[in-house]
């Protein structure tokens, strides 16, 4: 009998390793490897060649030459354009995250409190739009927001406005697009958190005389903190690097890091500078990820 359990244990250990190996291979192939290539290009010099940058390591006779170029980073530091682009992207991501949270929280709360059979329908409604291509949905917003579009024509027809509102190609359009596209990423983790709450806590607080809002604010809201943080991370991080939505819906005056990266890569054919910009962005994004992990670790400790 003892032998059997031991063997089972061994099997479990073995299986565990396999289960962990899969995501590790995934990370290695699709994160670590591309990341190393980006680092490599970031320390090269741009050149008129295929590919358009210098090699880091060359063999000169018997000597191995390592040529690390730091000029890209000093160039980025010298021109305020890049700093402004980073700050703008972070601002855009922060505002979008706040808006998603404001709109997404009541939605998630409502779904979590609905009857179980209705919950799946409501969740489906949240997910349904993403069955259509992301790009097509953003293009659809052009049709809605443009001066000759659905929104303006309806408002004009209703007599609410005399002149078409200029929404397309402004920051407002960018926020509409981002909040629309990223809302599910806020709602789903929030829902997953809210639905697990122990309703007896609310009942207890109400038995003790708390009003509905008080019990929400004192119990539900603090308990849902992890869901809010997870949702915010899922929105904030990709929005910082967002390129498509500002490009399609935004005006020419909104400068974000995604667009600057594009210009460096395509207009200037300067792959090394573009890679350096990407590298810096990644390092910047590590900060909130690190804070989140620390916070989560602490929660685990507390839970124990």
């Amino acid at each position: 009998m003892k032998k059997v359990t031991e063997r089972l244990k061994q099997h479990a250990e073995h299986g565990k390793r396999w289960v962990i190996a899969l995501p590790m291979i995934w990370l290695l192939l699709f994160f670590a490897l591309p990341f190393l290539i980006v680092i490599k290009i970031a320390f090269a010099e741009s050149a008129l060649a295929i590919p358009p940058y210098t090699e880091l390591v060359t063999m000169a006779g018997d000597a191995l030459d390592l040529h690390l170029y730091f000029g890209n980073f000093s160039f980025i530091a010298e021109d305020s354009l890049y700093l402004n682009a980073y700050l703008n992207s972070i601002k855009m991501a922060a505002i979008s995250t706040a808006l998603c949270l404001l709109i997404g929280y009541p939605m998630a709360y409502h779904i979590a409190r609905a009857k179980p059979e209705r919950q799946s329908i409501l969740l489906l409604l949240i997910l349904l739009p993403s069955w259509t291509s992301f790009l097509i949905r953003i293009y659809a917003w052009i049709g809605i927001l443009k001066s000759n579009g659905v929104l303006n024509n309806s408002l004009l027809w209703l007599g609410l406005i005399d002149e078409p509102l200029a929404i397309l190609n402004t920051n407002l359009a960018v926020y509409i697009g981002i909040v629309y596209a990223y809302l599910p990423f806020m709602v789903l983790p929030l829902y997953a958190n809210l639905v697990k709450h122990d309703y007896s806590l609310i009942e207890a607080s109400q038995d003790l005389g708390a009003r509905r809002f008080t019990s929400f604010w004192q119990i539900t809201f603090p308990l849902s903190r992890n869901g809010m943080i997870a949702g915010s991370m899922l929105v904030f991080i990709p929005v910082v690097g967002e390129y498509v939505i500002p490009e399609l819906l935004g005006g020419s005056s909104s400068i974000v890091i995604g667009k600057v990266l594009w210009q460096e890569f395509f207009n200037n054919r300067d792959w090394p500078l573009a890679s350096s910009l990407a590298l810096i962005m990644l390092v910047l994004l590590m900060i909130p990820i690190h804070l989140f992990r620390k916070f989560q670790d602490k929660e685990w400790e507390d839970a124990k």
Binding site: I50, S80, N169, S252, S253
Partner: protein
């Protein structure tokens, strides 16, 4: 699965791969500008030669260039504009053309081929597909409503002078997101050499554009076709054929929008889109066959009739619709041709200066 069925499965898989790659011999991957070919051209080619064409489109030279410079574009035939082509030739992106396989070469305009030697010495790597100019597209009624009957619609001042832009702003003024072309046009308007690489000249053009920037709605290289046709915008710095297409779309839709294209009296930038074969092309023979087909007078004429761009193939002219052939905004008169200029290949530093200025113009930073 027993051994026998396993073997037959493997044989089947190998067979599929082999037949697939045998088919791949007869596939040409063609990467062209959007809205830039007659709908019937490629089906006819496929039917005649048995070579199938995988067709994909782009709307900026920069996107094409990034693919070429990666060294693995995956295409057999591409269509860069002459100044980009010059740079890409220097980077070693193309293979030389084999004229033995291109008997229709003799149809090309020798004068234009000579002009193109500035970017491709000896015409080794590319042949012209279509050419056009970068000028002004207008919604005539709206512009006249804003500026009156004597609006300077035949001059760059329409898009570079504040007094006109202030009145045109509300009906929508836009420009290509093509830094070198708009800057070059601005330098020409200022009476400078449009191909100048002098920092002061570029600065003067930048100052002019910065000054008028608030009156522009957006900078984009393809969105304006529909916007102009729908009446969403009224003035655009754009490409000749695209504006002609906008005019045709408006006419088709019968929406009361009258679009016209103008080559300003001060002159305009002239460009050639060139057919070239990437160095890493998998099917250069097929690409040569396709280039030769595209140089046939009747095929070239069909494309010109469809896309409203001029060609460098005089033999095709008898077959070009009179409506297109006699349109001086598409095939300019010799006097106007005198005033057109070809862009030069820019060095890396000038490119960076222009992009940086362009950024400042577009974003105010």
């Amino acid at each position: 699965m027993n051994l026998k069925s396993r073997v037959s499965a493997i044989a089947f898989a190998v067979g599929t791969v082999v037949s697939f790659s045998a088919q791949a011999e007869d596939v040409v991957h063609f990467y062209n500008w959007s809205d830039y070919i007659d709908e019937a051209t490629l089906p006819n080619f496929e039917e005649e030669t048995g070579i199938s064409v995988v067709y994909d489109v782009f709307d900026s030279n920069e996107v094409l260039e990034a693919k070429l410079l990666s060294g693995q574009s995956g295409f057999d035939l591409v269509v860069p504009t002459n100044d980009f082509l010059g740079k890409q030739i220097q980077a070693g992106a193309f293979m030389p053309l084999d004229r033995e396989q291109l008997p229709n070469w003799s149809n090309l305009d020798p004068q234009m081929m000579a002009q193109l030697e500035t970017v491709d010495p000896g015409n080794q790597y590319a042949v012209p597909y279509m050419w056009g100019t970068t000028g002004i597209g207008i919604n005539e009624d709206k512009v006249k409503a804003a500026l009156g009957e004597d609006a300077p619609i035949n001059s760059w001042s329409l898009v570079f002078e504040k007094e006109y832009l202030e009145k045109l702003e509300s009906c929508g003024v836009v420009a290509l997101d093509a830094p070198t072309e708009v800057m070059s046009s601005a330098m020409n308007y200022l009476g400078l050499d449009p191909n100048s690489t002098d920092r002061d000249d570029i600065q003067q053009a930048t100052d002019l554009l910065l000054d008028i920037r608030p009156h522009y709605r957006y900078f984009h290289s393809s969105k304006y076709i529909n916007d102009l046709a729908n009446g969403d915008i009224c003035v655009v710095i754009g490409w000749s054929g695209d504006i002609a297409q906008a005019a045709a779309r408006a006419e088709e839709a019968d929406n009361g929008v009258n679009v016209s294209y103008i080559i300003p009296k001060e002159g305009a930038l002239m460009w050639f889109d060139m057919l070239a074969i990437p160095r890493d092309a998998k099917n250069p023979e097929g690409a040569h066959t396709l280039i030769n087909y595209l140089m046939r007078p009747e095929v070239t004429a069909d494309i010109t009739n469809y896309v409203w761009y001029a060609n460098a193939n005089p033999a095709s002219m008898p077959m070009v619709d009179p409506e297109v052939a006699n349109d001086e905004s598409i095939f300019p008169t010799p006097e106007v041709r005198e005033k057109l200029w070809l862009p030069k290949v820019l060095d890396q530093r000038t490119t960076r200066t222009i992009t940086r200025s362009w950024n400042k113009i577009k974003t105010g930073q």
